[in-house]
C-alpha cells in the first residue's frame, strides 16, 4: 500500500473546500439532453472581427511576450474606454495592468495588499472564488450577507457591523453574480463613506458592468474620493463573449498596480499575446456587438422574470449581468435538493444558491445566457416541476 502523496499538500490548500459548483458539474456532465441554466458565461461566440484580428496577429508572427503589464496599445484603449464610459482617468503607463482574466486580477490584487490575518469583507451571495482567493493570499474572508427583501443590496449598517480594526478591503461585485443585483449611485455612496471612514480599500469587480439594463452604470472608482481607494477590476469575458480567451485587467492607484505588476511579472509574465490583440480590436470596434448581445440578454431577462413570477416563485428583477436568483423557499426544499431533483426529473441544470454563500440558501441561480428556444423549454419544464411541489 503506497502512502499516497497528500502529505505533500500544504495545509491551507488541503483545508480549502472544493467549489459546490463542481459537484453539479459532475452530475450534469453524465446526463444527456440537459438544458443548462448553470452556465456562467455568454452563449454568444466572440464577435468575428475580434477572432479575425487575433488570427491576423498570429499570421503576422506576433507570438512573443508582451510587456508585463500588457500591450501599451491595449492599455491605452482600456484607459480611453474607462474614461469615456465611466468617467474615471487612469494613466496607461503605470495605472493599468492586463491580466489573465479578471480572476487573476483579483488574485494578484489580494496578494499585493494582504498581510497574514488581514480581513477582507465578502458580500454574499457572491462569485465562488472570492473567499478562497482571500484565504490563499493569507487573509481572512469575512462574509456579509444580503437579503432578498433588500433586493440583495448591501446594507451599509450590515457592512459596518462586520468591520474590525483588521479589516483591510471589501470585494464588491456590481452587477452581482449570482443575484443580478445592481447598485446605483445612491446605494454606493453610503458604502463609500464607510470605506473612507475606516480607511479601507475596495476591490471593485465590474466584469458585468456593460450588462446593466436599467440605469447607467456607476463605477465605484468614480465616486468622490474613491479612485484612491479602488482597484477597478474588469475584463473582456462577459461583455465581448471572450471567456475562453482569459483576458482581464485592473486599474488603480500607481503604487497598488505596480505592486500587482511585481507579482504578475514573476508568476505569469504577461497575458496571452494573441488574446491581447483580439482585445485591441474589441475595444477599437466599440460597442455595436456589445449592444446587440445586451439587447438580447435584456429580452431574455424580461422573459425569465415573468416566467418565474407566473410559476409562483418570488424573484428579484435583475438589473444587470445575466443571472436571476429566484426563491424556492415556497417548495420547502433546500436549494441543493431542489437543484438535484430538478436535474434528475426534468433535466434542467441550475446552481443551488447555497454554493454562493449561506445567504444564498433558499434560492437558485439561473443563467439566461442561453437561446430563447432553450429558455422557453427550460421554463416549461421548471413550471411542471414547481407545480407538483406547490400543489402538495
Amino acid at each position: 500500500m503506497s502512502p499516497g502523496t497528500s502529505r505533500f499538500i500544504a495545509e491551507h490548500v488541503e483545508a480549502l473546500k472544493p467549489s459546490g459548483i463542481r459537484r453539479f458539474f459532475d452530475l450534469a456532465s453524465t446526463m444527456d439532453n440537459v438544458i443548462s441554466l448553470g452556465v456562467g458565461e455568454p452563449d454568444f461566440v466572440t464577435p468575428w472581427n475580434v477572432i479575425e484580428a487575433s488570427y491576423h496577429s498570429l499570421e503576422q508572427g506576433y507570438t512573443a511576450y508582451t510587456a508585463n503589464a500588457g500591450l501599451m496599445e491595449l492599455r491605452e484603449l482600456i484607459a480611453d474606454y474607462l474614461k469615456t464610459t465611466y468617467s474615471v482617468s487612469y494613466r496607461p503607463a503605470d495605472q493599468v495592468i492586463v491580466t489573465v482574466g479578471a480572476s487573476q486580477a483579483i488574485d494578484i490584487a489580494l496578494r499585493a495588499i494582504l498581510n497574514p490575518g488581514d480581513e477582507v469583507i465578502i458580500v454574499e451571495p457572491c462569485f465562488v472564488a472570492y473567499a478562497s482567493a482571500v484565504t490563499l493570499a493569507g487573509g481572512v474572508p469575512i462574509s456579509v450577507g444580503t437579503k432578498a427583501e433588500n433586493g440583495f443590496k448591501l446594507q451599509p449598517e450590515e457592512l459596518e457591523k462586520a468591520l474590525t480594526p483588521k479589516t483591510k478591503a471589501i470585494i464588491l461585485c456590481n452587477p452581482n453574480n449570482p443575484t443580478g443585483t445592481m447598485l446605483n449611485r445612491e446605494e454606493l455612496l453610503p458604502i463609500a463613506e464607510l470605506v473612507e471612514a475606516h480607511d479601507l480599500l475596495v476591490l471593485s469587480d465590474e466584469i458585468y458592468a456593460e450588462l446593466s439594463y436599467e440605469a447607467d452604470y456607476v463605477s465605484f472608482s468614480s465616486l468622490p474620493g474613491m479612485q484612491e481607494r479602488t482597484i477597478l477590476i474588469s475584463g473582456f469575458s462577459k461583455s465581448f463573449a471572450m471567456t475562453g480567451w482569459r483576458l482581464g485587467y485592473a486599474a488603480g492607484p500607481v503604487e497598488l498596480i505596480q505592486a500587482m505588476t511585481k507579482i504578475h511579472q514573476y508568476t505569469i509574465m504577461c497575458a496571452p499575446t494573441m488574446a491581447q490583440y483580439g482585445a485591441v480590436e474589441a475595444l477599437r470596434s466599440g460597442s455595436a456587438s456589445v449592444e446587440h448581445m445586451k439587447k438580447s440578454y435584456r429580452q431574455r431577462r424580461n422573459f425569465v422574470t415573468s416566467s418565474f413570477e407566473e410559476m409562483g416563485l418570488m424573484t428579484n428583477r435583475p438589473g444587470g449581468a445575466f443571472y436571476i436568483f429566484p426563491s424556492i423557499k415556497e417548495t420547502g426544499m433546500s436549494s441543493e435538493a431542489f437543484a438535484e431533483a430538478l436535474l434528475m426529473e426534468e433535466k434542467v441544470a441550475v446552481v443551488p444558491g447555497s454554493v454562493f454563500g449561506e445567504s444564498g440558501e433558499g434560492y437558485i441561480r439561473c443563467s439566461y445566457a442561453t437561446s430563447m428556444k432553450q429558455l422557453t423549454e427550460a421554463m416549461k419544464r421548471m413550471k411542471r416541476f414547481v407545480d407538483k411541489r406547490l400543489a402538495r
Binding site: 453539479f24 458539474f25 448553470g38 453574480n177 424580461n302 441544470a349 437561446s371
Partner: protein, 165 residues
C-alpha cells in the same frame, strides 16, 4: 415609432412566427398591446408579410436558379428610374429590384427553373426594353448566408461546459 415598437419589429424580422405572448414578455408589454402594434405595422405597410427562409439546395427534387443582373438604363426625363424599374419589377420572375450607386443602375434578381429559362427572360424581356442599355448576368452558384442567416450552421451547438461559476 418608439423603442419597444422597433424591438418588436426586430424580433419579428428574425422570427415571423414568434408568438405574441412571447414577444410581450420579452419587451414587457401586454399581449394585446403587441397584437395591436403588429396590426398597425401591417396597416402602415411596414410589415409586408411573413415569409419563410428556405435553403432550397437542401430540398431534393427542387430545381431552380437565381441570377443577379446588373442593368444599365437611360433614365427618362421627369421620371428618373422609377418607370423603367416598374416595367422590370412587374415581371413575376423578378424577385428583387434595387437602384444602385456605381457602375450600373438597377440590380435585378431573377429566379427561374433553369439557366436557359433565365437567359431567355434576359434576352427576350429585359434587354429588349427601350431604356435598357446593357445587362450583365451573374448566376448564384451557392448561398452561404442569406438575410443574416448562415445556411448549414447549427445554432443549438453549445460548446460550453454544462455548469460553471
Amino acid at each position: 415609432m418608439d423603442k419597444k415598437e422597433i424591438e418588436i419589429l426586430e424580433l419579428l424580422e428574425k422570427n415571423g412566427r414568434m408568438d405574441v405572448h412571447m414577444i410581450a414578455r420579452m419587451v414587457e408589454m401586454s399581449a394585446e398591446e403587441v397584437e395591436s402594434a403588429i396590426k398597425k405595422f401591417e396597416e402602415m405597410q411596414i410589415v409586408h408579410g411573413y415569409s419563410t427562409l428556405i435553403d432550397w439546395t437542401e430540398v431534393r427534387g427542387y430545381e431552380g436558379v437565381t441570377a443577379m443582373i446588373d442593368v444599365k438604363v437611360t433614365p427618362i426625363r421627369g421620371k428618373g428610374f422609377n418607370d423603367v424599374a416598374e416595367r422590370i419589377y412587374r415581371f413575376p420572375e423578378v424577385k428583387a429590384v434595387y437602384l444602385m450607386s456605381g457602375a450600373y443602375d438597377l440590380s435585378v434578381s431573377v429566379e427561374g427553373k433553369t439557366m436557359s429559362q433565365v437567359a431567355r427572360f434576359v434576352s427576350e424581356k429585359l434587354s429588349t426594353l427601350d431604356t435598357v442599355i446593357s445587362t450583365t448576368t451573374h448566376f448564384i452558384l451557392k448561398k452561404y448566408k442569406h438575410d443574416g442567416i448562415i445556411f448549414g450552421e447549427d445554432d443549438d451547438n453549445d460548446r460550453r461546459m454544462p455548469v460553471s461559476p
